[in-house]
Symmetry: C2
Subunit: 287 residues, 2 copies
């Protein structure tokens, strides 16, 4: 059982429409508020060597990334911290606060709990004009498939390439880029936190169309043998780049360094160089 | 080290004003949105015998109670579930969904994580007119101190009085009552989830004034020796009644069964029958 299978169970209870995007959406005055929640904890997410400050930073960053992927500006963060050691709290909070400050959000609430391992749940809210809101749906055949930055670096650290520590330990959500892409009218967007492959399968499941990638166009983490670097870029988790589809006439979007990695196609399949792309990447699993 | 001491650390980082109420508050069109987050987990909160459905119900209820204590109407809930056993998810979600449905809220988002014990973090949002928003601050000497329902029942179950199972396992947030009290203009309010004593010390810390209780006025859980019942009512945790202060001219509020248990006094002290009330109740502790 993996988390995408479990999500089917949740859809049956709360409705498919409440599971479709990186954030939920509701009206707030003449704008739209987006909201998202993420649970991280020591065993799975805060790898050995990561400081408490970095655990706090990462917790805020993953949530701000979801807000960015809707084209919204982060506004507020709530943070619930489960602590095995109370001495972690101050650094976790400083890390989350510093990340929020850097990307324009403020911590406005939270909860403290005693727990058997450090567990952090961040809930983030962002604002966007309805016209600039971007969802996972909206991709059209003929659109370009693009990505910001260089995917695969976080997974590269996990595979022993420790020059990429910063990518995994202190992810930089694409907050500025997300808003520029929203204003430019990209057709669909999400972050690639579970890897490019799973992200495209997620996009396919809500759009009905497919995606054709060209591997030679993929930006690759440097200093790694080509085949391995390609796999890291396609299947690695822990990145917070934005993957988006856009009408070719609108590309490039000024101020958003990106690479075209493929095109949207009518057939519901995800391929790379014409062959089916494996549906694998970062997933939680239960026996 | 307890959670109220740790809250001082948090205040130094995110500001005292962001730790003052049961919910954070921000403008949303011509109304005010309140938002709160709560972390619960198996070891501390979901006692043996509690079903997964009840764990889900309780998780939603504690958050809706915080919304009620601000005088707001619950609107949305996000739920992050950390699962040791994936088979728990469906019942947890159904419990949370049923509680939301009963009190007028909808689940609009969430997260699923693999965890070493069932951990549920709910984030709730509610709406209220600015004029009817109630905070912890605002109590004035001469106001009455009042409480809804019968406090102490949840703790009574923990102390072996298993006739009170429903109070602990399926708490009923005072959502309707909170809104009626807000519209009636009560001066300060919070829920009593950590017990009456700690709630009054919390109110004293932000109001500057004190509280004088009369023990003979306390509603007590039935069928328990008087002294023990009195202690349960004063210090027991796990209840979700509303404790509020109100100008005597505005009491009683129609549709809100309540008891007057004391008065607000100018001196910053919490007393019962003229003697200092012990500052104890439900707290998380770390060594």
């Amino acid at each position: 059982m993996d988390d995408r299978e479990l999500l089917q169970v949740v859809m049956g209870i709360v409705g498919k429409e409440n599971c479709a995007d990186d954030c939920a959406v509701f009206s707030c005055g003449d704008q739209v508020m987006v909201i998202t929640t993420d649970m991280l904890h020591r065993t799975t997410d805060f790898v050995p060597g990561m400081t408490d400050w970095q655990a706090g930073w990462m917790s805020a960053a993953v949530t701000l990334s979801d807000i960015a992927s809707m084209g919204a500006a982060p506004k507020y963060l709530l943070i619930a911290v489960g602590l095995d050691d109370w001495k972690s709290l101050e650094s976790v909070m400083r890390g989350a606060r510093d990340c929020c400050t850097q990307f324009g959000a403020a911590i406005i609430g939270g909860d403290i709990d005693r727990h058997n391992e450090l567990t952090v749940v961040t809930t983030g809210l962002g604002l966007v004009d309805q016209a600039h809101l971007v969802r996972r749906t909206g991709a059209r055949p003929g659109d370009l498939v693009c990505i910001t930055g260089t995917p695969g670096q976080a997974q590269a650290w996990l595979d022993g390439y420790h020059q990429f520590e910063k990518a995994l330990f202190e992810p930089q959500p694409r907050v500025r880029e997300g808003q520029l892409l929203g204003r430019a009218g990209v057709s669909a967007m999400m972050d690639d936190s579970d890897g490019i492959a799973l992200s495209l399968y997620d996009l396919m499941s809500v759009n009905g169309c497919g995606f054709s990638l060209e591997s030679r166009k993929l930006p690759l983490p440097a200093g790694i043998p080509h085949g391995q670097a390609r796999d890291l870029a396609l299947y690695g988790g822990g990145d917070y780049e934005l993957i988006y589809t856009i009408d070719p006439g609108k590309f490039p979007v000024e101020g958003v360094p990106s690479r075209i990695i493929g095109t949207v196609v009518p057939e519901p399949a995800v391929t790379v160089d014409g062959s089916p792309l494996a549906k694998r990447g970062y997933q939680h699993r239960w026996e």
